[in-house]
Symmetry: C2
Subunit: 454 residues, 2 copies
């Protein structure tokens, strides 16, 4: 890996000289994956200047790595002919992703510049839901007919390998009308005699996905089985494309980000890039829905507290322990949610083992609650010299922490059971619920023991 900011400096210095050769060489020495990071730190003018100096193939590789805003910025600034030539060097799935972010008119103007065979393939990719296997797959697949033999297949692969566009991790075997019949690993191919027909050595129990499958399921499948790629078929078992491990990895990383966001109450309807770098109004929109729900929940908490205003007026000092109870309840509840939500998401926890985990977290919550309850009771007693107050605060702490751990465990399982993504809703919802319940328990305990306190 390179130090991005040093590279940026080098490029800027090279760009100052009149002779562009040095800049071109510097650019050539940088891997396109590094270059995409460099581009983030440049001004739009610098980006365009450097981009125009790249050979078309490298420009295409770089395009794939850039975020949508910069892709549009660059392609809009060069001639449409050059843009079309660069697009022709990109895998079809990347082109479809890029075009999907544009308006229909803009997208059409690019498609019109492409050869009709390519544009019709890309149009098909655009017709699938962006979050489905169809929206993720690359339609360029290495496929051979079932009647071919090993020698011919190797010759064919050798020819295809010269174009850098097709991956040949696995060779897919189809019949005349493109129905998927089997799969052949390169390993099997090169270790078999050349006269054998591929249908005799191919594996027929192909693990495949449907074009309409959710991208998260697809990514989980690829990662679980450790595949380099997985074939995508339509309802008639016709081979439509493949999804490679790096696509799956990207989806898995996106899904982890969505889980992170959702667990802190950031809506996942708005794109991550938009939240990081887009308009402020989009960031505000992404963040307010759950804050509103928290607001409503906390108004309930305020009302609970208000309900006990006679108790509060009789002994105002009890109010100072409110943040202690809410803070620790919130923290242990969040821990439980995190463990369960993450476990459900990586597959280490399933609905089937929910009872085990509920009881486990209950025991953990009770143990930690007892520990902290005793500490808090003793501290309060020593500090305020009031043993009833100590007992009340300690007892509230035990109940509060145990309940928080329990709620934090049960809620994600219940959401999952009803097919709601447990990452959404869990975090802020639980914190607020614990605030409300914790206050009700604490004030009730204070109220019943008020006469023993003063």
């Amino acid at each position: 890996m390179i130090d991005t900011s040093i590279t940026v400096e080098k490029l800027k210095n090279a760009a100052k000289s009149d002779n562009k050769q040095e800049l071109i060489e510097e650019l050539n020495n940088i891997h396109y994956a590094d270059l995409s990071e460099v581009f983030l730190l440049l001004t739009p003018e610098e980006r365009l200047e450097y981009f125009e100096l790249l050979p078309e193939e490298k420009a295409a590789d770089l395009m794939e790595e850039l975020n949508p805003q910069i892709q549009v910025e660059l392609l809009d600034s060069i001639t449409q002919d050059k843009a079309a030539r660069i697009i022709l060097h990109m895998p079809h799935d990347s082109v479809a992703d890029f075009l999907a972010d544009l308006s229909d008119t803009e997208s059409e103007s690019y498609l019109a510049k492409l050869p009709s065979r390519v544009s019709s393939q890309i149009r098909e990719l655009l017709s699938y839901d962006e979050e489905s296997a169809g929206g993720l797959m690359n339609s360029e697949v290495l496929r051979v007919n079932e009647s071919m033999n090993v020698g011919d297949t190797l010759e064919y692969i050798r020819k295809m390998a010269e174009s850098e566009r097709v991956d040949f991790y696995y060779i897919y075997v189809v019949d005349r009308t493109n129905h998927l019949r089997g799969v052949l690993s390169l390993r099997k191919l090169i270790t078999s005699p050349s006269y054998i027909k591929v249908e005799e050595i191919m594996a027929t129990d192909v693990i495949k996905v449907n074009v309409t499958d959710d991208q998260e399921t697809v990514a989980d499948t690829v990662i679980k089985y450790g595949f380099l790629a997985i074939p995508v078929v339509d309802d008639y078992n016709k081979l439509k494309g493949i999804i490679t491990w790096d696509d799956a990895q990207e989806v898995s990383e996106e899904e982890a980000t969505e889980d992170f966001y959702a667990s802190s109450g950031i809506t996942t309807d708005i794109d991550e890039d938009e939240i990081l770098l887009g308009r402020i109004s989009q960031s505000v929109r992404a963040r307010t829905p759950w804050l509103f729900i928290t607001l409503i929940g906390e108004f309930v908490a305020v009302n609970v507290a208000n309900h006990f205003n006679y108790t509060l007026e009789a002994l105002p000092i009890i109010a100072i322990f409110m943040p202690l109870l809410a803070g620790l309840g919130g923290n242990i509840g969040t821990q439980s949610i995190t463990i369960i939500v993450r476990g459900l998401s990586t597959g280490q926890i399933s609905l089937g083992s929910s009872i085990y985990h509920v009881f486990r977290e209950l025991r953990v919550g009770l143990l930690i609650g007892l520990l902290f309850g005793v500490i808090v009771a003793l501290t309060t007693f020593i500090w305020k010299g009031n043993y009833v107050l100590g007992i009340v605060v300690g007892l509230a702490m035990i109940i509060n922490m145990t309940l928080a751990a329990l709620l934090g465990t049960v809620t994600p399982f219940v959401l999952k059971k009803f097919d709601v993504d447990p990452a959404v809703a869990s975090g802020p919802f639980i914190a607020t619920t614990i605030d409300v319940l914790g206050l009700a328990i604490y004030f009730s305990l204070v109220t019943v023991s008020l006469r023993y306190m003063s």
Copy 2:
């Protein structure tokens, strides 16, 4: 993918019959990755019964996927000779991972049963830090000498491919004393004439990692460049092994889990499996350190509130708004932390752009703070009929939310700057700090405006 619980039922039914053939067939039809999920739902007795029925190669594949507890449970229950044979079918890195979890004596007893060539390779892997490239790599690499030609290399690969142990995504070219000279893609190899020497067509600017590199850096490199594998060298540039994309994917998933755990204050020193399924005492140990820090922080908050006890006694009603301020401050602060910590971890945010993000989050926090401040002020005024109280609560809300967004953004950057993992510490630390500051601000505002309130 399969429905795990249905498969478990099927297996249990097949196991009931006297004729074991049906059970063996059922087991054979299940992919080992699915079988590892099935094994989680079985009793130890059932696991052992089914495991003994598997062919050794499949048993080895399955072993790789199982968690350490079940690995030990199974290998301890079969004869050491059979265990050694199964281990011989596993990749060396998986064996090293398994042995690393055992005591030295147990580990030695397994090593003693293996051929000395294998055991010495595994001993070398065991000598590296578990979280380093050396601890992650597989030492079985497809390497050819620089003086070989394309034809011989293809012949050699064909021979190696018959053993399923070596991956040949890339062919590494070394000199006589195993110094890494270059890399050759299979694509390049099969499209080159057979008389050419590999050193003439190999790429020499190999992206590689050192055995001592941190596994997280390695995983990021593999994923960033979209490699199928990356070579690992020692300080003398000698080729020691390779790390494949699925190892990188696993590390990346583990690191995401660690970030999740750390952000909710669960220590990452203790293994995830241990927290999910191990002894309760380990779960308690993983969760208490940060809860203690929260406890201390919240005691500070209690003291702040206690400091204003005259204000509280003069107007106890003000206490009921405490959860509202803490809840919303905590929530917006957590959102900011999540965005920054996740962005730093996926590489979409760098230290270089910290100023941009701090100002961005400040604006977002101020906008949302103003919105919620006005709502809370109006609601309080209408409800309690006290406009000064409404202004005080609303103003506290604005300051609190803006400050929370700011702190949630600045803290991860500062931690990163001083090379502390920003995921650790951020979550509970920020929530508690906001509680303390929020209370101080609110009570101060109430105190100075007390005489206008009643």
